[in-house]
Symmetry: C2
Subunit: 274 residues, 2 copies
């Protein structure tokens, strides 16, 4: 279905590793793509990170992340905008396929979802010209509805697609992360509508019970409830030609030796999607 | 906006109380409606429960619950059907406005959401003639997507409405519980589409962080992130004339004295929705 030549490892899956170590890990396990996080890139430095991934022949499938547009005050919005412009510059330098945007939840102290969504739309609109001039595509990532209040008021792929369609196709697309959208009865239809706009495809499984920190309840492919073949077939049918990036937030996975994790990522990917 | 004469207390909010105690609690706090649970009703006995609520002048706004249609084997489905028929008989005897249906998650061992949803549709279809002859309305309750795998594959109000529209209006409607649907950008449109089909309206707040048992992360009205006035206005504009039932699953609320809980339920309701 999809070759391991399109596999990418998001570095959050091996969170304890520094960028240089994660790059070496991918090279050692013949994983050709990597998803990077801004804090880790900053630690090594942007130029050194770009040099390291190029030297290893790795492709940067995504940079995580920008967004968090939902501030009540102009100062907060200006600070977010400046941070997002910096993220665009980093994504350009790294040659990342997309800058992932996690949009932000309710404005602090507010219960107005409409306000949050208008601020998100405005924030993206402000960023688009800068992203276009840098040649970077922004990826709107819907997060699972359980993160709506505090992290991301864009909860369904359909919302992300509707939002992306308000902007030029070279500037704004959507990120499909199986963990966040698998449950949605409209998913197949919305993936079809997302044709030409899918800038990142992320994989991890939904496992139960959820841990106390609900950010960390994600599992290796096959350990949970998601039908990866079905969703991946839909994403490919929509014309997606990019990488499939495995991104797992899970304390047990983080505690495991990174080489074991990389082996499991690769073998599960081949087994379930080969 | 909505009078306390339409307030109902779901007995799960005061879970430690037996039915007779919950009935007395409602009477003592001038709460005119009650939502009952089948296990508690069985403990006192159906006839005695019906007599107790009538003697107290209480209205039964809902009976919780039937459903759980997603069994792989015919025996499992037959057992669920028998249980659901028993629940219909109980709802009729209690004069409940609705029998709440929690539909069931993925079929055990399966990752096929389409299969789960077909079994749910078939299970409801089987139950409808029985419900009609008993004069009981079934209420399809969408549960928050975080319960999709293990409890309810109907995650959005829109899905519940689409499903209900396949059946006669006197037999099948939808349950709107703010906790499960508040995040949905299509909620207002789907409430409008639900006109004439809303058979139960349940209230509790979304609070953070989620507890380890994610079933219990619900709060008193006003303690969380939900805009109750906005959603209630939409429900009323759709022509809903029934009770507004406060149903809170929360260990701290359960540990509190029941009279304190009832007072808080009544005062928050009046404050936020009066």
């Amino acid at each position: 279905m999809i070759s391991v030549e399109r596999l990418s490892l998001n570095q959050a899956t091996v969170r304890r590793l520094k960028v240089a170590e994660a790059v070496e890990l991918c090279a050692r396990h013949q994983i050709p793509g990597i998803g990077l996080w801004r804090d880790a890139v900053a630690e090594l430095g942007l130029a050194k990170t770009a040099a390291a991934v190029r030297a290893a022949g790795l492709h940067v499938s995504s940079l995580c992340r920008g967004g968090f547009f939902t501030h009540a005050d102009p100062e907060g919005r200006a600070a977010a905008a400046a941070g997002n412009q910096a993220a665009v510059i980093e994504a350009a330098e790294l040659g990342a396929d997309a800058l992932v945007l996690v949009s932000g939840g309710l404005v602090p102290g507010s219960r107005d979802l409409g306000l949050a969504r208008r601020l998100i739309t405005d924030g993206i609109a402000d960023l688009v010209p800068f992203a276009q001039s840098a040649g970077v595509r922004l990826g709107i990532e819907p997060l699972h509805p359980m993160f709506c209040a505090d992290r991301c008021a864009i909860s369904r792929l359909g919302e992300a697609v509707d939002l992306s369609l308000q902007f030029p196709v070279d500037a704004v697309g959507v990120v499909i992360d199986t963990y966040h959208v698998w449950w949605d009865s409209q998913l197949a239809a919305d993936i079809e509508r997302a044709a030409g706009r899918i800038v990142s495809y992320q994989l991890c499984d939904w496992t139960l019970p959820l841990p106390k920190d609900t950010l960390l309840g994600r599992g290796h492919l096959g350990d949970g409830f998601i039908d990866f073949r079905s969703i991946t077939a839909q994403v490919l049918a929509a014309g997606y030609t990019g990488y499939a990036e495995v991104e797992i937030f899970n304390q047990e996975v983080w505690n495991a030796p990174a080489d074991d994790t990389a082996s499991t990522v690769r073998s599960r990917f081949a087994e379930l999607l080969g």
